[in-house]
């Protein structure tokens, strides 16, 4: 089922949580709402579920206005951040809950309910825990039970609020992969909220980057990472270096060096003012002397060779701190040491100029 949000706004007192959001989600997509706390992502998710009523705008499910439809009639599955499993019920009873509250006439009999519950528990690989209580389960297990519970009533849409936030790093990674496989199998329209950009990049078909109640960019992982539409998105996704420079006569200067703008995506072209260039650490090369292409002088401060790449910290000639990631072979070839004077060369097409 597709979801459409039109002109959705919501405020709590003086705080504007969501500001005029328009969003369309296709059937079967797995979409991430990505942002910091206070960006409005959880509020938006709850509005879709019907757990909050928007001040303005409509929510449409498959083209039909759902605004008047109550939470219980919307057929959305909602997985809460802290699972909200019913403490006094066993795992089985939790998963069966949605089926047992169906009005008597439409309700399946107990045998059918039991079959469905076990089917779902097998799907989440927890059938052997059916008689345990939530307090006896680990965090990852509780999460899967919560998921099984929402799937029991065959929702049209699956909404997850920071589903893996409360888990250890390793468990989080396992569950991420597991959720991805589950979605590939079931193909249910899913929206999940996260502040973890790695998670969003890894899981989602499309990412909605939110900030202070607005959408900054919507796109696939590839798009938002490699083609961020503004500084916020660039900064939020992945590591980035900021080079502070100035604009004179339409040319950008970092320190004494003029920047060749043909390699950069420039947000605007003013004649004077300040500029900030964004460069990812792994897209800077370190060379010992300038060799014709665009380079900037810098001095090595510290080197961290532990990890898949070598992280080098430098001070640029104009004062900014710079982080560069190079592979180990390059590092060996350069014989870098703290204090060495080197040159930085950004690779093609990856600079981003944003004048402020």
């Amino acid at each position: 089922m597709s979801i459409e949000l039109r002109n959705i706004s919501k405020r709590f007192g003086d705080f504007v949580a969501v500001d005029n959001i328009n969003l369309h989600i296709e059937t079967g997509e797995l979409v991430a709402l990505l942002g910091l706390s206070g960006s409005g992502k959880t509020t938006l998710l709850r509005i879709i579920a019907g757990l909050e009523t928007p001040d303005t705008g409509e929510v449409l499910f498959h083209g039909e206005d759902a605004s008047a439809v109550s939470v219980r009639d919307r057929k959305v599955g909602f997985v809460f951040q802290h699972y909200a499993l019913f403490r006094h019920m066993t795992v089985f009873e939790n998963v069966a809950f949605g089926l047992r509250v169906i009005p008597r006439r439409a309700r399946p009999d107990e045998a059918a309910i039991a079959r469905r519950v076990h089917e779902l528990l097998k799907l989440v690989q927890l059938d052997f825990l059916a008689d345990r209580y939530p307090s006896q389960l680990s965090g990852g297990q509780r999460q899967r039970v919560a998921l099984a519970r929402t799937l029991a009533v065959e929702p049209k849409v699956l909404l997850l609020d920071e589903p893996f936030g409360a888990l250890d790093a390793k468990v989080r990674q396992e569950l991420r992969r597991w959720l991805r496989r589950l979605h590939d199998e079931i193909k249910i329209t899913s929206v999940f909220v996260t502040h973890d950009q790695e998670e969003a990049l890894e899981l989602a078909n499309r990412i909605v980057v939110m900030n202070q109640g607005h959408i900054e960019q919507i796109g696939s992982a590839e798009e938002v990472y490699h083609h961020p539409s503004n500084a916020f998105v660039y900064n939020f996704l992945g590591n980035v270096n900021l080079f502070h420079g100035r604009i004179e006569n339409g040319r950008v200067f970092l320190g004494d060096t003029a920047v060749e703008l043909e390699n950069t995506h420039a947000h605007a072209h003013p004649q004077t003012g300040k500029a900030v260039l964004y460069v990812r650490p792994h897209l800077l090369e370190i060379v010992m002397k300038p060799n014709g292409k665009q380079t900037f002088p810098a001095t090595v401060k510290s080197i961290n060779p532990a990890g898949p790449q070598v992280k080098v910290e430098l001070v640029a000639e104009w004062g900014d701190m710079v982080q560069v990631e190079i592979d180990h072979e390059r590092y060996q070839a350069l014989h870098l040491e703290p204090g060495a004077n080197v040159f930085l060369r950004p690779k093609e097409q990856k600079l981003f100029v944003y004048s402020i």
């Binding site: 709590f12 019907g50 757990l51 909050e52 009523t53 109550s70 939470v71 802290h82």
Partner: protein, 294 residues
């Protein structure tokens, strides 16, 4: 996660249908009107039934004044004693480990679960003239039962746990780091106590004091057993109310009752005021403890 003191308005998933809401609120209000508000109004209405002049005459009556004096004196003795006990007990329980702590807590709660009449009876059995101890005292001219000392003792018994029950959780929640810091800095025991401990528990202390006082001034059943109802001598205000009532001096009975009702209302207001201080103090200490532990 968890408790939200201010419910966010309009969370549709948790809202009750309007009819249900109205019905429940109405039932609640009717029930409370019947059992709370009508009685309170009735006290004052009946007290003034014979006019303001009679009201003040009843209160100024010498026997009434004697009753007021005895009530105040009883509270003035019982409350400080029990509050001191509360401080001592909470210090011992919250700051140290020793066997039998749970038993001690249960024992402290005993007066709570004993009927007031039985509470009074205990002292009659112990100190009445027919009891060995009582007989011994009587022989030396010390009257306890059917005299003021008996009233004070019975009051101490029934109000015994009140201050301790408030102070023990507070002392536990406040934690001992500050006191340890004071010791390490060279403070003596009493200095640490007055400069560090007491300020940290002061709201709980006041709360326990208010509760203890209300009960001490208002106790009826236990005091009734030990007092002998000797007019002008062994009547506290609650007892005096009974005597006036049994004498069919209704307006006067309610006049004295109105004073006690005013005291009760003042107690409730003080309680509410202090509750607000006590809870944040506990919460603050919990948060600090979490930060320290983390």
């Amino acid at each position: 996660m968890g408790g939200q003191a201010q419910r966010e308005p309009k969370r549709p998933g948790t809202a009750d249908p309007p009819m249900v809401r109205i019905a429940l609120i109405t039932i609640a209000l009717l029930f409370l009107a019947l059992f709370l508000f009508i009685p309170v109004i009735a006290v004052f209405a009946e007290a003034l039934a014979k006019g303001i002049g009679a009201y003040f005459a009843a209160i100024a009556d010498p026997e009434a004044r004697a009753a007021i004096r005895l009530t105040l004196m009883t509270a003035a003795i019982a409350v400080p004693l029990n509050v001191t006990f509360g401080i001592a007990a909470s210090w011992a329980i919250a700051r140290f480990d020793f066997p039998g702590k749970q038993t001690l807590l249960t024992l402290i709660d005993i007066p709570f679960s004993v009927s007031p009449v039985i509470s009074g009876m205990l002292f009659v059995l112990l100190l009445g003239v027919r009891a060995p101890l009582g007989g011994f005292l009587a022989a030396h001219g010390i009257k306890v039962i059917f005299a003021e000392p008996g009233i004070v003792l019975a009051t101490i018994f029934v109000t015994f746990p009140l201050a301790a029950r408030e102070l023990i959780p507070i002392m536990q929640a406040v934690g001992s780091e500050e006191e340890e810091a004071a010791i390490v800095l060279g403070a003596g025991g009493w200095q640490m106590f007055f400069r560090v401990t007491i300020p940290n528990v002061k709201w709980g202390l006041l709360y326990g004091l208010v509760l203890c006082n209300a009960r001490a001034m208002g106790e009826f059943g236990a005091v009734s057993v030990v007092s002998g109802h000797i007019r002008g001598h062994t009547n506290t205000m609650p007892l005096y109310v009974e005597i006036l009532y049994n004498d069919y001096q209704f307006a006067a009975a309610f006049a004295v009752s109105s004073l006690l009702t005013l005291l009760a209302i003042a107690t409730l207001v003080a309680k509410r005021f202090l509750e607000r201080r006590v809870v944040p103090a506990k919460q603050e200490q919990d948060d600090l403890a979490v930060k320290v532990a983390a």
